[in-house]
């Protein structure tokens, strides 16, 4: 990896064992992946990470902050990089904990190369997906923020499946006024259809009343 060229994707390898770190790095390089290595969790957290899709390959047992601790810390800091755990001694409770916390994969050393590569690929895919979803959600929230309080009211009743007439009655106004609000809502939320708006409201977690 060079600083000049921003890669399209990157794999972060965090392992205190230098030879393991090098081996994993070599394997990923061999299939054309860009790799960034760290000897400890702190080093990783302190590093400048490129804003491209990627995933992290973490040794569960790290000196200082352990792999599981790092995973938790990443969540707390809003770092959405998918995590693949590798461990020298996979014990079930630990892997369950890791998977619950959202790990992509939990691999026990020594592992098949394909397993790691598959996990890395799906991790990157997941990240890419996640990034896309997070971008969409940001757009929706942006639209939502532009709505007036009345328009929000109207929107929540619309997605709850009420007809304009019923909404007008509920809000004590005319059906025509509701129609205008509704079209503003559709416009601001950039919704193509009612179904589209319903999906959006679900994503935003708007409660139907």
């Amino acid at each position: 990896m060079t600083a000049a060229k921003i890669p399209s994707q990157v794999v972060f390898v965090i392992d205190d064992d230098a030879s393991m770190r090098d081996a994993v790095s070599r394997l990923l390089n061999a299939v054309g992946l860009t790799v960034q290595t760290f000897a400890s969790a702190r080093e990783f957290l302190a590093g400048r990470l490129p804003d491209v899709p990627g995933c992290a390959v973490l040794d569960v047992r790290l000196p200082g902050l352990s792999g599981l601790d790092l995973q938790r810390e990443m969540v707390e800091r809003g770092i959405h990089i998918p995590v693949i755990f590798i461990t020298g001694h996979g014990d079930i409770p630990m892997s369950v904990q890791a998977m619950k916390a959202g790990a992509v994969e939990f691999l026990t050393k020594p592992f098949r190369d394909q397993d790691l590569l598959d996990a890395v690929r799906s991790g990157i895919q997941l990240d890419r997906q996640g990034r896309k979803e997070r971008a969409e959600l940001a757009e929706l929230r942006d639209g939502l923020r532009q709505l007036t309080p009345r328009e929000r009211e109207v929107m929540s009743l619309v997605v709850a499946g009420l007809l304009n007439k019923q909404i007008a009655l509920r809000l004590g106004t005319s059906e025509k006024t509701i129609k205008i609000h509704r079209s503003h809502v559709m416009q601001k939320m950039r919704a193509d259809s009612l179904a589209d708006l319903v999906r959006m409201s679900q994503k935003l977690g708007i409660e139907t009343t």
């Binding site: 030879s19 070599r26 061999a30 001694h89």
Partner: protein, 730 residues
């Protein structure tokens, strides 16, 4: 006298004849008369002359007579003095006053002004002034002791004759002493040496004169008489002194040796008893002096008849005899005596007397009795002890076997009686502890050893003590049974140590598996990478080579971990060898690094450089270190426990190497401090409770010590163990 009387008669006659002439002249003529007168005058004149001559002669004779008379009187006085002195000599006991008297007599005889008497010191042979008259202290000091060859008196002694110096001012021989002579105020001197009858030099009488003087022959003769008298007296005094001393010595000797002497005159029955004999018989010399057969009264009734028979037979046969018997004192005290006597005959062969010695042997008899009893007791003890007991003299020759030792010799096909006086290692060339035996004999140290003696098929323990005569005594026990038990115990302990080790390692399994798995994981991954690098359309050979190099390095790494574990898992075969304590500590640290990291423990090792080697069983010592490290880890792994520091240190402390393991853990509860070394005591869940007890056994088996103390400020724990350095290992 007669002559004097004759002369006086003649003189008396003279006046008578003259008167006759006068009567005749009156009757004759004047011429005739004148002629007659002339004739008569001539006659008378002649007679007168004759008379005058006679008178002169007579006066001369009278003077001579007086001189002779004086001389005779002086001689008589001298003789009387001599007689008196010799009489006194017979009575006198004191040497000093008599010598002074002789000196005075001599001074008077020679009409000298001073004088002194010197005695010859029998030891130094020097002359020492013992009596003097008229000298001042400086003279006495000057001549206090004179060697035979110095001074004129020395010369007189040496030449064995009188030396007379008429005038010290002119005599060349006296030149060295003129000053002191001048100071003392004498010019003339004579030295008369004194000799014993056997010509031994005794001393010297010297007399000194203020004016130059030469004593006359006559004086010298008398001088010789005095000298002779003095010599006799000195000699007699010396002889008396010797006799007196000998008597004292004899009496003292008799008293000390409890040996008395006696004599018994056969014909008269007269007895002589020495003082010691009275003591031996408990009698008062002033009251009782029993002869024979009264003496029998004092002899023990049981011995009396035998004494009587032996004595009377000996006397009848005129033979020597010897008797041992008991004397009974009036107060019942019994003395043991030994009596030796022999007959004394005169030149005609007639038996005169018996002389004998009587020795009081009571103390000896009693001592012998005590010794005999002591021997009996010792023999009894030696015979009753179940050990083999034997003695060697300083040359290593057998001196004694008790019955067990004798039985052992017989078991070995040897006759114990024939071995007495034979050198042990020559008789038993296969003796396994000859070196120790020689050390006891040469260095006089106590040595206890354990050896296997093949001919007996037994282990024996020898306690060898140097004995006062330079030899040794040895107690020997058969310890084969004990050895077997010990061996079993040792095996059991080794087994237990092994089990504990395996258990301890079991606790480490996860960490150790990780240690091995880490390089294995890397190897596999590198292998995969390598395959991919090679199977690309454009194979990256360089990177593939690097991958393989890494694989090799990791392979070695994995095998080292396994080797380490195997080392700890294998059964120790009590193979002590010299080893470096720091290497062992590092091995264990390598093995536990993973476990300690997992528990978030910081390890600090302060291992001293240049430590001497120790004689140790590596596996066992590593087990101790491992145990202490894991205990520390345990003490610090409570949830949220901080800080987590482990310090391991090695250092030399005198003849020992001390290893310290300090942690910052929970510490040991006060009430548990005593019990942590007790087997089955454990504060750990799932712990066997053997760790520290085994560790302690191991360390002590290496001649060291394992102990604990609370850490700083009561936090944490410090364990220490010591091992003797190789030079101090026993």
């Amino acid at each position: 006298m007669d002559q004097i009387d004759d002369k006086s008669l003649e003189l008396e006659r003279l006046p008578h004849s003259k008167s006759k002439l006068d009567q005749k002249a009156s009757k004759r003529a004047p011429d005739e008369l004148e002629q007659q007168v002339n004739e008569r005058t001539t006659q008378l004149s002649a007679i007168n002359t004759q008379l005058i001559n006679e008178i002169a002669e007579r006066e001369r004779a009278e003077i001579e007579l007086t001189l002779v008379k004086d001389e005779l009187a002086a001689d008589l006085k001298t003789m009387l003095r001599l007689h008196e002195l010799s009489t006194r000599l017979l009575k006198s006991t004191e040497l000093q006053p008599l010598l002074e008297e002789i000196l005075n007599a001599t001074i008077e005889l020679l009409q000298a002004d001073f004088g002194n008497v010197q005695l010859c010191n029998p030891q130094s042979k020097a002359l020492e002034i013992v009596a003097q008259r008229g000298f001042k202290q400086d003279f006495l000091d000057y001549f206090s002791s004179v060697d035979e060859d110095s001074a004129a008196c020395g010369r007189a002694m040496q030449q064995r004759r009188r030396v007379i110096i008429d005038d010290v001012e002119t005599d060349p021989d006296f030149a060295p002493h003129r000053e002191i002579a001048a100071s003392a105020g004498f010019r003339g001197v004579q030295f008369t040496p004194l000799f014993s009858r056997s010509a031994e030099p005794l001393g010297m009488i010297s007399t000194h004169f203020r004016q130059p003087h030469h004593p006359s022959e006559h004086d010298c003769r008398f001088m010789d008489l005095y000298a002779h008298l003095a010599a006799e007296f000195i000699e007699r005094k010396r002889a008396e002194e010797r006799l007196r001393r000998n008597e004292i010595y004899l009496a003292e000797g008799q008293r000390l040796s409890h040996t008395a002497s006696w004599a018994w005159n056969v014909s008269t029955g007269e007895v002589y008893w020495s003082a010691e004999l009275f003591r031996i018989y408990g009698l008062d010399p002033d009251k009782q002096r029993p002869g024979y057969p009264e003496i029998l009264e004092y002899i023990h009734p049981e011995d009396r008849a035998r004494v009587q028979t032996t004595f009377e037979d000996a006397v009848r046969e005129q033979k020597d005899y010897q008797l041992a018997y008991r004397v009974v004192w009036s107060n019942g005290t019994i003395r043991h005596v030994n009596n030796l006597a022999h007959p004394v005959f005169n030149e005609r062969g007639t038996l005169l007397e018996y002389v004998g010695t009587t020795i009081d042997t009571t103390e000896r008899v009693q001592a012998e009795e005590r010794v005999r009893k002591a021997y009996e007791r010792v023999d009894m003890i030696l015979e009753s002890i179940s050990d083999n007991f034997f003695g060697l003299d300083k040359e290593g020759r057998f001196t004694f076997f008790n019955k067990h030792a004798a039985a052992q010799m017989r078991t070995l096909g040897r006759d114990p009686d024939a071995l007495i006086g034979r050198v042990a290692w020559e008789e038993f060339p296969d003796m396994p502890n000859k070196e120790n035996v020689l050390r006891v004999l040469s260095e006089h140290v106590v040595i206890v050893d354990e050896v296997y003696y093949a001919p007996l098929e037994e282990w024996v323990e020898n306690h060898m003590y140097p004995s006062s005569d330079g030899g040794l005594v040895s107690f020997q026990k058969y310890i084969t049974e004990r050895k077997r038990t010990e061996e079993e115990l040792r095996k059991t302990q080794a087994e237990l140590a092994h089990v504990t080790r395996v258990t301890t390692l079991g606790e480490l399994t996860v960490s150790i598996a990780h240690e091995v798995n880490q390089p294995l994981g890397a190897i596999v991954t590198n292998g995969h990478a390598c395959l991919r690098l090679l199977s690309r359309t454009n194979p990256d050979i360089d990177e593939a080579r690097r991958a393989v190099e890494c694989m090799i390095a990791d392979g070695i790494r994995a095998s080292e971990v396994i080797k380490r574990i195997r080392g700890l898992l294998k059964k120790s075969r009590d193979g002590k060898s010299s080893c470096n304590i720091n290497d062992n500590i590092r091995e264990v640290l390598a093995l536990t690094a993973g476990e300690l990291t997992k528990n978030g423990i910081n390890v600090r090792a302060e291992l001293a450089h240049g430590l001497p080697y120790v004689i140790a069983d590596r596996v066992q010592i590593q087990q101790v270190v491992l145990n202490l490290i894991l205990n520390s880890k345990e003490a610090m792994s409570g949830a949220g426990w901080q800080p987590r520091e482990l310090l391991i240190r090695s250092e030399q402390a005198g003849p020992e190497i001390v290893v310290t393991v300090t942690d910052t853990g929970v510490g040991i509860a006060r009430e548990n401090r005593e019990s942590i070394f007790v087997p089955f005591f454990t504060s750990k869940e799932g712990g066997l409770g053997f760790g520290l007890s085994i560790s302690q056994t191991i360390v002590e088996a290496h001649g060291g010590r394992l102990w604990t103390k609370p850490g700083h400020n009561g936090q944490g724990t410090t364990f220490k163990f010591s091992l003797p350095t190789g030079d101090n290992f026993r």
